[in-house]
């Protein structure tokens, strides 16, 4: 029983850490899609931010400089996406694909040119990383059964960016449902013509949403290279941008359900790492690839309408053209 509890706590702890960048990226996607811009370039923006953050942290020896760089590059990419899709009414999927491929190549090219380590950035020292924050009393209560473990492992002991990720959820909820910007954001994704005729610039609104999207993706990428790991590794996002996209759809374009989906997917990942090679009662050994593919499979099943119905914002994916 005790072993099981320790396993459970460590799995939940891992879930929270693995889900943190997913939460950030899913919220990023939420801003974009709520404004009517499909963004399959979450992956690319995260990857670019991860590289920029690691490179800058290394050079400046400061995690904060890294965060700033990560956010900046990600916002720039989001604005490029906006320039193509909003200003020039380009195909949003094509633009997202372009950004993903461009970034995958560019990070390695620049990494080799600047650091000559096969596309990686040099390992970061602790100063250049976001380190775990120990909450007051965590040491003291550590040995209290259950509560101690929960408090010390699950609530305390994460790095700053993890807390930012989970605080971003209620913040996003508040922005979307309680502010003027949120009202307009929800409106422009459903009926941009209504927003336009109400005297609000559809273009400006969508660009603002793209900036929010880039900002959050930037934090997510920074987390990967300067908090979860100690440096940038080629293609280190490894599909997490797409999992976040799936989680956002799974959460039906709403902040709290999207976070829940991220936690579910994070949990699956944590479990997959723990049951590799372990034979389960009744079912035997579960292939780890099956669990890894589960987020994608679940999303397909959800989109097919077999569990609930996922309805995207009505205008998402359609460039806004004024009608005569």
């Amino acid at each position: 029983m005790d072993d099981f509890f320790i396993l459970l706590v460590s799995t939940l702890d891992a879930t929270i850490r693995v889900a943190a960048p997913l939460v950030l990226a899913a919220l990023a996607g939420l801003y974009a899609e709520r404004s009517g811009v499909i963004d399959i370039g979450l992956e690319g923006k995260m990857l670019a931010a991860a590289f920029a953050a690691a490179a800058t942290s290394f050079v400046m020896n400061s995690a904060w400089a890294g965060l700033l760089a990560g956010i900046s590059i990600s916002v720039i990419l989001a604005l490029i996406h906006g320039f193509a899709c909003i200003t020039h009414k380009g195909n949003q999927v094509v633009s997202g694909v372009a950004i993903n491929i461009l970034v995958a190549g560019l990070t390695v090219t620049l990494g080799i040119a600047w650091f000559a380590q096969g596309g990686q950035t040099p390992s970061l020292t602790n100063d250049a990383r976001f380190s775990p924050l120990l909450w007051p009393g965590a040491e003291a209560v550590k040995d209290i059964p259950f509560i101690g473990g929960l408090y010390t492992e699950i609530i305390s002991g994460h790095n700053l960016l993890v807390y930012i990720a989970y605080l971003a959820v209620p913040l996003t909820w508040w922005v979307v449902y309680r502010t003027r910007f949120g009202l307009r954001l929800r409106a422009v994704g459903e009926n941009p013509a209504a927003v336009d005729t109400a005297g609000i610039s559809v273009t400006a609104l969508r660009y603002q949403a793209m900036i929010c999207c880039g900002f959050l993706c930037g934090i997510a990428g920074t987390y990967l290279s300067t908090a979860q790991n100690a440096g940038f590794v080629k293609n280190m996002t490894a599909g997490q941008g797409f999992i976040a996209l799936a989680a956002m759809i799974f959460g039906k374009w709403k902040p709290v359900p999207a976070m829940m989906a991220c936690l579910l997917f994070g949990f699956l990942d944590a479990v997959a790492n723990r049951i590799q090679g372990v034979s389960m009662p009744l079912v035997g050994e579960i292939p780890v690839q099956l669990i890894q593919a589960l987020p994608y499979i679940l999303t397909v099943i959800l989109l097919a309408g077999f569990i609930g119905k996922a309805v995207a914002p009505k205008a998402s994916g359609i460039p806004y053209v004024k009608e005569r």
Partner: protein
């Protein structure tokens, strides 16, 4: 005092000169009508006033001052409000949210919501504009949605209200209510601009009227000093030939029989409700009604685009039911040809060349196909023949369909459908957006089809078209057929009342009548 003045407004879209030297004066606190055919330039002019486009040249004066309007934002600031033909509402938003959008009164919503509620209460008191403020806009009937649009404009302090074809989707009762509201607004000093192509509305509600034709303002009149006939003439530029020359019909056996046909939408609402009718060879049966009362669904069900939910369609010895539906190509095989209501969305593929559009729906015919490859030459020659028969200009089968004028596109569609020598010809809005010369040509051909023994079912929102072409007239309302009259006995007033489901003999209270009672009327 003059509320709005336009001087020498010009606007071109590429080679199209949509507004030529347009001048206009409208007195404050009046209702002013702007009338013209489709494409006369009314919508462009109003888009300029509302900041959707900037004029190439010319001045807009609001209350005597030259005002530049480059965006909707500036139009609103200048006190102009607009009720668009297609409502600009966010369906999943409540009425309150829709009204406050763009005028939220602060970065946070809670204060704005309270203020909007108060303001809506005041507007309700002053103008009788009542709406359920917490309902979702998408759940409201169109009449109420339109009212939300008016509220949006007034909430933003509009002193000039533009309404673009506001009655196209309304029942006569809703239209009357709208006009009452407009008069109340006028009494409060609001200037109302009413854009329409319906003469009776101009006569009923306006103080002054301006007529547009071919992008130009051709006349200004006081409503009290003009007549429908004069306006109609100004609008078209010559005497309208409303009478179609035709012999009396020689109807034979029924080619199309429909019994108890219903089409139920995904939302559970019956779009077509227990419709029974028959069309005989050698007659034209007209279907009148305010647009959106099930005519489109009737055409869709009778051509195989939509499967029946209930009832049956009998065609040429075949019975089509919900259990045994047929698709559009199988309907064609049974001799049904269909000229659809909307040629751009349905009748042809604008990106195709004319010859490709000219085989749409018949593209599987042996005449056009080998075992695997299509017969290119046969398709081109066939199109050239159709173009010659129907005087399509330019007669070039390789020109993109989009590059033909509306009338010529419609001729391509008609040529394609008529070339099949159908037993049943379904025709929807055959002359919408078509120039006057082509209208006569199209009408003549429809009569010729009838005389050649086809059963023709004509759907149109133009009452005059229905009355001049049909041998029998059916009237639709809310998915049901609420009346049938012989064309000889029909007049506009009587049809208009039936279209509003206010049959003068049986039901003086119009809409108050329960739907169930009216079904007896449908089975006359």
């Amino acid at each position: 005092m003059i509320a709005i003045e336009l001087r020498g407004i010009n606007k071109s879209f590429g080679p199209v000169h949509a507004n030529k030297d347009v001048a206009l004066n409208i007195d404050k606190g009046t209702i002013h009508g702007i009338i013209g055919e489709n494409g006369a330039g009314k919508s462009t002019l109003m888009s300029i006033l509302y900041g959707f486009y900037e004029a190439d040249s010319g001045d807009v004066l609001i209350n005597g001052e030259v005002t530049r309007i480059r965006s909707s934002h500036e139009a609103i600031a200048a006190g102009i409000g607009m009720v668009h033909q297609h409502f600009m509402l966010v369906d999943p938003f409540s009425v309150v949210e829709n009204v406050m959008l763009g005028a939220e009164g602060g970065a946070l919503l809670d204060k704005g919501i309270d203020k909007t509620r108060e303001e809506l209460e005041r507007l309700k008191r002053e103008y009788g504009l009542e709406v359920p403020v917490d309902s979702l806009a998408g759940d409201l009937p169109v009449g109420l949605q339109q009212r939300v649009e008016i509220l949006k404009a007034l909430y933003r302090g509009a002193q000039i209200l533009i309404l673009d074809e506001p009655t196209g989707v309304l029942t006569p009762q809703e239209t009357d209510q709208l006009f009452r509201i407009l008069k109340a607004l006028k009494d409060q000093g609001v200037t109302v601009i009413l854009i329409t192509h319906k003469l009776q509305e101009i006569m009923a509600v306006t103080d002054g009227v301006s007529v547009m034709r071919g992008g130009e303002m051709v006349a200004h009149r006081k409503t009290s000093e003009t007549s429908k006939e004069e306006l109609a003439e100004l609008m078209v530029g010559r005497k309208v030939l409303l009478k179609v020359d035709k012999e009396a019909a020689q109807p034979q056996e029924a080619a199309l029989k429909v019994e108890g046909l219903s089409v139920i939408g995904a939302d559970g609402v019956a779009r077509l409700d227990n419709v029974s009718l028959s069309v005989r060879r050698g007659e034209i049966v007209g279907v009148a009604g305010v647009s959106g009362n099930g005519q489109s669904e009737l055409l869709a069900a009778l051509s195989g685009i939509v499967a029946p939910s209930k009832g049956k369609i009998a065609l040429n010895g075949t019975t089509i039911t919900r259990e045994k539906p047929l698709d559009a190509s199988e309907f064609r095989d049974l001799g049904v040809a269909h000229v659809p209501e909307d040629r751009h969305r349905m009748g042809l593929v604008t990106a195709f060349t004319a010859d490709e559009s000219a085989i749409l729906g018949y593209h599987r015919d042996e005449a056009y196909n080998g075992a695997i490859l299509m017969k290119r030459n046969a398709i081109v020659e066939d199109c050239a023949q159709k173009m010659a028969d129907f005087d399509v200009r330019p007669p070039n089968p390789k020109l993109k369909s989009a590059n033909f004028s509306g009338g010529n596109q419609q001729k391509i569609v008609l040529a394609r459908e008529m070339a099949q020598k159908p037993n049943v010809l379904l025709v929807g809005q055959p002359t919408r957006g078509v120039d006057i010369g082509a209208i006569e040509y199209i009408h003549k051909n429809l009569v010729a089809m009838r005389d050649a023994g086809a059963a023709v079912l004509l759907v149109s929102v133009e009452l005059e078209e229905i009355m001049s072409l049909s041998d029998r007239i059916l009237v639709m309302f809310e998915g049901r057929i609420v009346g049938e009259v012989d064309a000889k006995d029909a007049n506009e007033r009587m049809l208009g009342l039936m279209m509003a489901n206010a049959n003068p003999e049986t039901d003086p209270n119009g809409k108050a009548q329960a739907a169930g009672d009216m079904q007896e009327g449908a089975e006359l």
